[in-house]
């Protein structure tokens, strides 16, 4: 339905969009994800023919947008970032204008009524657009894109500025529209893309960095094999024991969850499973395994990884470099472990000193307490004799 091939847009030296290619199949909802300023809107503006591309092509329904713009545009319903609404018109007047502008052939009043019902603006259709709230304006923008029932919908951040209820409404509407339209939806909100889209394209700094379903992306990205185990037991012993299990690459224990309870982040060699061994170890030593969780990447993690370039960095490294890094990390861990041991020894010595000091203090305290105790006893004996005297008086 939509084919984008090697699309580029350069402004002087600045490459706003650089060599982007992707494809959207019939009836697919494609999520277009990227941080602000990544080139999402620029790409959409090129696909819809608002601006020209420096090179490359965008083909809608088999028609090139640059070669036959009029025909290609007739397949597209476009909601730009700022809805192109004339604020001094009524909703109905505006939609009628769009109907004429798109040279619609459908029965006029019925079609406009259907679109109004679909985006729920029927009750405001006689009001002037500038008096409407932001949410309604956005919906009028969406209605405008739907006029003429175009097979392709391109929506640039359609839920920006809406309240949570409206966001949910618009999302479910887009999902419904996706059943008989091809939709490209851009957003920088991950949950939105995850909730609505079949497939995700991520762009960053004008280049396409990922393309796939949410699960595919998460699987591809989690190249390292990690799990988190929560174990109750003396930290040092657990650390050492787990580290010495076969296939364990590294262990990090930095989250204290309670007395003697720590989260251990365990990295294993690819394709191995240490869960049984870990279980056995914990049982043998009399510790408790409180939780075992594979470290699954959420879309959020994937996104951040891609955007910060961590993933690319990993891909760019050669095997040898990776090995060196792994060795360096291993060495660092050994040094860390040694430092840890040293610290515990130091702590032990310190604790010993403290204990001695405390003992000395206690001894001092006891002496004074003894002295105080003697005076106290004399006082009480006096009091007793007093009370005895009183008793005698009363008698």
């Amino acid at each position: 339905m939509i084919e984008v091939r090697n699309l580029c847009k350069h402004y002087g030296d600045k490459k706003a969009v650089n060599n982007i290619s992707f494809e959207v199949k019939d009836g697919e909802i494609l999520g277009f994800l990227g941080p602000n300023g990544a080139g999402k809107s620029t790409t959409m503006n090129m696909i819809t023919g608002y601006i020209s591309s420096t090179s490359g092509e965008a083909i809608i329904n088999g028609v090139d947008i640059m070669e036959n713009p009029k025909k290609a545009k007739s397949f597209i319903g476009y909601l730009p970032e700022i809805p192109p609404i004339y604020v001094d018109m009524t909703v109905k007047g505006y939609l009628n204008f769009v109907y004429d502008l798109k040279k619609c052939k459908l029965p006029r009043s019925k079609h406009i009524k259907d679109v109004c019902d679909l985006v729920k603006i029927t009750d405001v259709q006689d009001r002037i657009i500038k008096h409407l709230s932001k949410g309604y304006k956005q919906r009028v923008g969406l209605a405008q894109a739907l006029i003429g029932n175009p097979p392709v919908l391109i929506l640039d951040e359609p839920t920006v500025g809406l309240d949570p209820k409206q966001i949910i409404e618009i999302r479910s509407l887009i999902k419904r529209l996706g059943k008989n339209h091809t939709v490209i939806l851009s957003s920088h909100i991950l949950s939105e893309i995850q909730a609505v889209c079949d497939r995700i394209v991520i762009i960053n700094k004008g280049t396409l960095v990922a393309d796939g379903t949410a699960d595919e992306l998460a699987n591809n990205m989690s190249g390292d094999h990690k799990m988190i185990a929560q174990i109750e037991g003396p930290r040092k012993d657990v650390y050492k024991a787990v580290r010495n299990l076969p296939d364990v690459v590294s262990v990090i224990a930095d989250m204290e969850r309670g007395e003697n309870i720590y989260d251990y982040e365990i990295e294993t060699k690819p394709g191995t499973d240490i869960r049984k061994n870990l279980n056995k170890l914990v049982q043998e030593r009399g510790w408790y395994l409180l939780m075992l969780q594979p470290n699954i990447l959420t879309l959020e993690d994937v996104f951040l990884k891609i955007i910060t370039g961590e993933h690319e960095l990993k891909q760019a490294l050669s095997e040898e470099q990776k090995k060196n890094i792994a060795e360096a990390v291993d060495k660092k861990e050994k040094v860390d472990a040694a430092a840890e041991d040293l610290r515990t020894v130091l702590e032990g010595i310190e604790a010993k000193k403290k204990a001695e000091a405390a003992a000395a203090e206690e001894a001092d305290a006891e002496e004074t307490a003894e002295a105080e105790g003697t005076s106290e006893t004399s006082e009480t004996s006096e009091a007793e004799s007093d009370s005895e005297e009183n008793k005698g008086d009363e008698e």
Partner: protein
């Protein structure tokens, strides 16, 4: 084109622009009609037609100032440029809307002629020739100030630049007289809007002048289209 034409006509009359444009034009034309024609007890409308030229320089930029600048500022042009219409259709839709409002405005002169006709004979040939001249002069002026409106997204700047552009066209005669170089002065004189228009006022119907005005309109509408094309490609 029809859709944009209808929308712009609606926008003219739902905002103050149409009423201000028509009101001021009627007031000025009425003033010259009473002072220049009725007060002298003549049936000759030429004086009235002649006086209105200067005021069009102010009024026409007022009418066209927001046609493109406001679209740009509100980002509504994105809707037009991604709709299945050509840029030429878009420009012409707006152009003809402005021309239609202008025609409604200048038809007051035909009403004046009818009033005179009621009191005595009007030389219709002169009146109509003047009317045709006024119409095509306006057609040229609107194209120029509409082109100016494509260059900025600020209505006020658009109005002031439009006014300056038309003022330069008005002053071409004076500039031509000030220039000492013979052939430049000659070229400028052929470009003079005022002297061409005055020919009609003095009762001479000159087809070449009509063609000149039409050409100016075509050239500036073409330039407006080019502005949008260029922006797309930059």
């Amino acid at each position: 084109m029809g859709a944009i034409f209808r929308r712009e006509m609606g926008a003219f009359f739902s905002s103050a622009i149409a009423y201000i444009f028509l009101g001021v034009l009627f007031e000025i034309a009425g003033f010259f009609f009473i002072n220049g024609t009725l007060a002298y007890g003549t049936s000759d409308l030429s004086g009235t037609f002649g006086s209105v030229f200067l005021f069009l320089i102010f009024l026409i930029p007022l009418m066209t100032m927001k046609l493109f600048s406001e679209e740009k500022r509100q980002r509504t042009e994105q809707g037009l440029l991604t709709a299945p219409i050509s840029i030429t259709e878009m420009v012409l839709g707006k152009y003809f809307a402005a021309l239609a409002l202008y025609t409604i405005g200048i038809s007051i002169f035909l009403l004046f002629a009818l009033i005179i006709e009621f009191f005595g004979g009007v030389v219709w040939a002169t009146v109509l020739s003047n009317f045709v001249a006024l119409f095509f002069l306006g057609a040229a002026f609107i194209a120029v100030s509409l082109f100016v409106s494509t260059l900025t997204e600020n209505q006020i700047i658009s109005a002031i630049l439009g006014f300056l552009a038309l003022l330069v066209l008005y002053l071409i005669d004076s500039i031509a007289n000030a220039v000492n170089v013979e052939f430049i002065s000659k070229i400028l004189k052929t470009l003079s809007f005022y002297s061409r228009y005055n020919e009609f006022v003095t009762g001479l119907f000159n087809l070449s002048s009509v063609l000149f005005f039409v050409s100016v309109a075509v050239v500036f509408n073409f330039l407006s289209v080019r502005v949008f094309e260029k922006r797309r490609w930059s």
